[in-house]
Every structure is written in structure tokens, then in C-alpha cells.
Amino acid sequence: MTNMDPKGLTRQPPKRLHAETQAVYPRAVDGRFRRLKWAVMTFCLAVYYITPWLRWHRGPYSPDQAVLIDLEHRRFYMFAIEIWPQEFYFVAGLLIMAGIGLFLVTSAVGRAWCGYACPQTVWTDLFQHVDRLIDGDRNAQMKLAKAPWGPGKIVRRLGKWSIYLLISISTGGAWIFYFADAPTLAREFVTLQAPSIAYSTVFVLTVTTMWFGGFMREQVCIYMCPWPRIQSAMLDEKSLLVTYKDWRGEPRGKKSPTGAPLGDCIDCGLCAAVCPTGIDIREGPQIGCITCALCIDACDGVMAKTGRPRGLIDYVTLEDSAREKQGQSATPHWKLIWHARTLIYLGIWSAIGAALLFALGTRQHISIAVSKDRNPPYMILSSGEIRNAYAVRWKNMEGRPRKMQLVLDGPAGAKMWSEDMAKDMAARDLTRIIPADTTSPLRIYVTAPAGTAEGKLSFTLRALDQDGGQVSYDTRFDAPGAE
């Protein structure tokens, strides 16, 4: 194998497909973005934990939980909105809005979702604070990690993991309250009377929270999550990024060995030390940067101490960074948003939102479904009349009983009666009171005089109270053909 590989390709250093996990010990930092992060984190956690406990009175027939996904009864409640399974397109619309909303946010403010609001970020942040609480800041954590196992380390690790576990259990525990009446389920849960699915859900979410938030952390963002990949396809020179202004910082150093002038970066490494994903922002935009801006806080502190203007690392677009380099001023942030792509996303997002609101506002709260008997398609009665049968489902989608009228529109002389009444009461319309939030099936018989030809027939369901509303269903009337 002397000259099998003249270019020496196989002699190149092996490309490892596997990178060893580098533990990240982010240093504590304070600053305006850190405070914003605290605020967003508090808000997100508060929404998550408090929402299921909010009450919303819906009358005696419906649950009083403001947000409830009632899988057992196939109902989804969100404050004043109640959604039935066949209206699931509202939820689909919300999910589409959430997706396009992420595009919109990315286009307007870059990876703000990753940096502040993503649950992975929020919980990782929480767990990292636990690390600092138990083990101390970055250096102490690194020292403890290297230290041999001893009583002190065991106690600290057990303490830390217990807190992890506590947070994880309460995270998983809060999730189930969205699916059942929270106070009832909480009581059942602690007295071990809750359905087994509640316990298994809490177990799975506890494990995943502990694993993702306590141990995998930035690995989830860098290797598992598809979103950074999608985002890197959407980011361009006009996107708001956390940018190290290399034209200002380089050449970096504490003291120039040759006496040549140095940039503003004193190479203290603080920006990398505070990074929760363990990257060095000075290497340029990269997939590991979730734009949490903690490095901006760190660098601003250093700049203040060294008497230099803030913003060596800053939220700035690559385009503006180049412009600042030439001495021009950066585009104001509000102007960045005024940009075709952002406006188009905003337009699509708002259009879907408006369409959903419109559909929500104008939707009928009654509904009718008819299925005609096909076996037999028609029936001759002893009087010679022709009878067809229909299964009619009256739906009352409101949380109160409603009086409704079913009106027949069909062949001349046709009359209907239902399985719960006598035939001699047959009429062109029937009135029933449909219980709250119920689909009421009723078998309807329609007779038409002998000799009636087959043709169209429709049922109209009308709510008789003052809110009104009506829906129709077209079907057919079968009759023997001419002999």
C-alpha cells in the first residue's frame, strides 16, 4: 500500500462523528438581559403552573376550569371558548399560528424564542440556578466536578439531584391538571385514587424534565432540536443576532507584546464563561447561540470597568455591524422590524388569526347530522303511504338546555314522527328540548302519500330561544319507481 493514496486523502486526521460532551458551568451574571430573562422565566413558569387553577364559571352544566382539555368527554375549554372534536380546526389553526408566529418572531427579533421563552431554556436556566445554589458559581462547580467522590460531594450531589427531582415532579405534576378538574385531581393524586394514566404521565414528564433540564441541557438545543436548523435557514444579514463586533474588539488581548494598538476586547473570556450553551460568541454566529444575551451583560460590565463604551457584544444585525464599522449609526430596532419579510409573516399570521376569530364569532352552536336508512330504503305502509327512516342527531353545543325545532322540507304531504311519539302525532315540525352540551340522536320516520316520487328532502334545525341559529341538512326521500 505504498502508493495507493497519492493525494494522502486517507492520511488526513480522522473526522470524528462523535463529540465528547463538554460540561458547561455558566458563571452567574447580572445585567439588563439577565433581568429580562428572570422576568420572562417567572412569567412563563407562572402561566404554566397557575393556568389550570383558574376558574371560569360556565353555568351548572359545564366544568368551571378556565383551561381544560377534557379528553374523556371530548371537549376543549379555553375561557369563554368551548371546542368540540369536529371543530378541531380551531386548534389546528392555533398551531399553524404558533408555527408562523415563530417565523415572525425570528424575522423580527432573531432567536428570541430560543433565548427566553422556550421551555428547554426556561427549565435549563432554573436547573443551572440550582447548581449555583448548591455547588457555588462556575469555578466551584468545576472544582467539585473534578474532585474525587467523598462524603461532601455525595451530600451535595444528592442534595442537588433531590431538588432536580422536586422540580421535575412538580413540572410533570402540573401538566396533568390541564386534563382534568385540577382541585379534584390533586386530591385524588395525593390519596392515590387518580387514574393510572395520571401517574404514568407524571412519571414520564418527571423523567424527561430531569433528563433534559438537569443533564442534557444545551445538548438538546444543539443536537436534538430541529428549530435551530430551521432558524439558521431563516437568518440573514438583516436578522437581529447577538454579534461580537470583531472590527472593534480585534486584535484582542490584555497587553500588546509589540506595543501595537489592541482592540477593545481584553480577552477576559467572561462572555464564554457565562454562556449557558458553552460557546464563544467571538467565533461568530453559530447554531449553539440561543441569543439569550447573557454575554452582552457580561461584556457590558467589563467595558464599564475598563472605561470603554458598551456594546462590544450586542444585539445587532450583521449588516449594521458592518455599517457601524464604517462609522455610520446602526438602524434603530423599530426600523428593523419594518422589513418586507417580517411584514409578510405578520400579514399571514394576522390573517389566520382574524379568520379564526371570525369563524369563532360566527360559528353555529347547534348542529345537525342525518343518516338515512338504506336497508330498506323505503317501506310501504298498509295505507299505501311510503315511509323512509332517518337517524337525526341534534347537537346542542352550548352549556345550557335549548329548545329546538326540527322542520321537514320534502315532498308534498310528507309528515314526520319520531320513535318517541305515536304516529298519529306526525307533523311537519317537531320540538324537543336538547340537554346542555349534548348530541341527541332521534330516529325520524317520514311518510309521504302513495304515489310520491323519490326526490330531495332536507331537515332544518332551529334554536327557538332568542339567540336563535339554524342549520340544514340535505338528504333524500326514496320511493318505489313507476311500474
Partner: protein, 313 residues
């Protein structure tokens, strides 16, 4: 891992990958030693252990006459049996309630009635469909159960009796029975007389206008048929004699069909289901047939939820 020089004793380290080779080569092709990940290997061992355990506790090993039984004693038949027992146990309260309720009281208990109708629907599919059709619409000679024409009565009790004792079943004392004479075949009526009777029957059922033949037929009808079919031709359920004035014809209402009936007569039969089905099943079947739209003696369910008020015209 540093790349040591090839030596005589140990396996060669492949330079580009830094991985040891297996130490053998064929025409210059070598194999890298990349063992399975430990976790994978132990999962594999665990699977083997599990499989051995599985083979011991479940039927797994085939034999000449029969396979191994397994220490758990599980069989698919046994599983089916226990599931069937569970289903039977779940049905037991309904069946007990049905046994305890006389059929005429069923409408007073709408919940039980609904269960009876549902059960009857299933039992109908198993027992009744071959003759009466899957939609209970019958065919020539087999009554349509959806309509409002009943040979032997259409109340719940009537239907139950018909089901239990059958029609013209020898050996059942209470069976529904009657025998229409074969007027033509036995020479009671001459063929021309048969045609006259047919004309009359077609007249009273509104299929033909009256004529001389029908007038002669009226006299023959009065002499031969009124005992069962009544002077007005509306039949008599005591004998299962059909109403001849309505539009429902079990054997057809054409001249030919009626002439055939008068000449040879028909005597349809139905099994006495009391011999084959439990009383509760018969009640369920009766409730189902009664619910098909032609049931007589309708009683509005007592449920408060069903507000039966119609606004009328």
C-alpha cells in the same frame, strides 16, 4: 488514542480511523475491530434471558403431538374464554332485569328498553336475518317487520308470543296456527270462481274498479272467506288472516299472485324460538322488532328528558 507503530505481536492500528484491526487480512482487506456498544450488548443479553423465561412460562416449544404448556398455563382459548366470561358478567345485570320485567312494562323503563333494543338488534342478526333480511324488510312470503301490517298482532306481547311459540310449529301447544283451505286445488272453487274472488279482493284493496266479476266474487267471498278474513275483508289476527284491504301483500297483490294464493293457499312457518333462545333474548328481539317503526300500542317513554311535546301543524 495515539497511533503506535505496527508491531509483530498486537493487531495493527488503522491510521485513518485510529481503530485496531481484527488481525486478519485477505488480499489486503482487513477488518476493523469495532465492538458493539456495551449498553447494546447488555440489552441483547437481557433479551436472551427474557426469551428463555418467556419460553418457560408461555407455550413456546413445539412437540410431536402438542407443544409445551408453559408454567403460567396460558392459552389463547383460555384467554378468549375469560374475556367471554367477563362480557357475560357485564351483561348479567341487564339480562336479570329483563327476566324480572314483564315485556309490557318495558316501555316504562326507557334505559332498559334501549338496552333490550340494542341486544335485540344483535340477536336479530344472528337468528332472524336468513328469512327476514338484514334490514328486517322481509321478502315474498317472509313478512316485512318495519311496516305497520301485522298478521298475528304488533304489540310487544303479541310479538313476544309469536317469537316464543313460532308459527305452525308442531309440538308447541301454544304455537300460532291456522290453515287456509286450498280452494282451487281441492276443488272448493272452480277456476272461474277463483278469478271472481280475485276480482273482488282486488276491488276491496283499491287495485281494480268494481265489475261483474267482482260482484260474483263478493258472493263467493261471503260464502267462503269471511270466517277468517272478516266480512269487511280486514282479516282476523286470531287466525293470522291478513287484511286484504291494505296495500301490503305478503305473497304479492297482482292477479296472478292472489289467484295462486286462493288456489293453493299458503301456510308460512316460523320456528318456536322459545326452544332455542332464552326468555330474555326473546324479549330483546320483541323489543327490537317493535322498535322498527310499526310497533303497536305505542307507549311514550316515561323519561323526563324526552319532551314529547309537538307543536303540531
Amino acid at each position: 488514542m495515539s497511533a503506535p507503530e505496527n508491531n509483530e505481536t498486537g493487531p495493527r492500528i488503522d491510521e485513518p480511523t485510529g481503530t485496531a484491526t481484527m488481525g486478519h487480512e485477505w488480499d489486503g482487506i482487513e477488518e476493523l475491530n469495532t465492538p458493539l456498544p456495551t449498553w447494546w450488548l447488555y440489552t441483547f443479553y437481557a433479551c436472551i434471558v427474557f426469551a428463555i423465561g418467556y419460553c418457560v412460562v408461555y407455550p413456546a416449544i413445539p412437540g410431536i403431538k402438542e407443544g409445551s404448556h408453559g408454567t403460567f398455563g396460558w392459552t389463547s382459548r383460555g384467554q378468549l374464554a375469560s374475556e367471554m366470561d367477563a362480557a357475560k358478567a357485564a351483561r348479567a345485570p341487564v339480562l336479570a332485569a329483563l327476566d324480572a320485567t314483564p315485556i309490557e312494562d318495558l316501555p316504562k323503563n326507557p334505559e332498559l328498553l334501549a338496552k333490550a333494543v340494542a341486544g335485540g338488534k344483535a340477536a336479530f342478526k344472528v337468528n332472524c336475518v336468513p328469512c327476514h333480511g338484514s334490514g328486517a324488510a322481509g321478502s315474498i312470503g317472509y313478512p316485512n317487520l318495519n311496516d305497520d301490517d301485522w298478521l298475528w298482532g304488533g304489540t310487544l306481547t303479541d310479538i313476544q308470543t309469536t317469537l316464543e311459540h313460532g308459527i305452525r310449529q308442531p309440538g308447541d301447544a301454544a304455537t300460532r296456527t291456522s290453515m287456509m283451505p286450498s280452494f282451487g286445488r281441492d276443488g272448493i272453487l272452480k277456476p272461474a270462481d277463483v278469478q271472481d274472488v280475485v276480482s273482488y279482493v282486488r276491488q276491496i284493496s283499491g287495485q281494480e274498479p268494481g265489475n261483474a266479476s267482482a260482484q260474483r266474487g263478493a258472493a263467493l267471498f261471503a260464502a267462503n272467506c269471511v270466517a277468517c278474513h272478516n266480512p269487511d275483508g280486514k282479516g282476523n289476527r286470531m287466525f293470522g288472516a291478513p287484511n286484504l284491504t291494505d296495500k301490503v301483500w305478503l305473497y304479492g297483490g297482482s292477479r296472478t299472485a292472489i289467484a295462486e294464493t286462493v288456489t293453493n293457499a299458503h301456510a308460512g312457518v316460523m320456528p318456536a324460538w322459545g326452544n332455542r333462545l332464552s326468555p330474555a333474548t326473546i324479549k330483546m328481539l320483541a323489543a327490537y322488532v317493535h322498535s322498527l317503526g310499526g310497533g303497536e300500542a305505542f307507549a311514550a317513554p316515561a323519561a323526563p328528558a324526552a319532551d314529547a311535546a309537538s307543536t303540531g301543524q
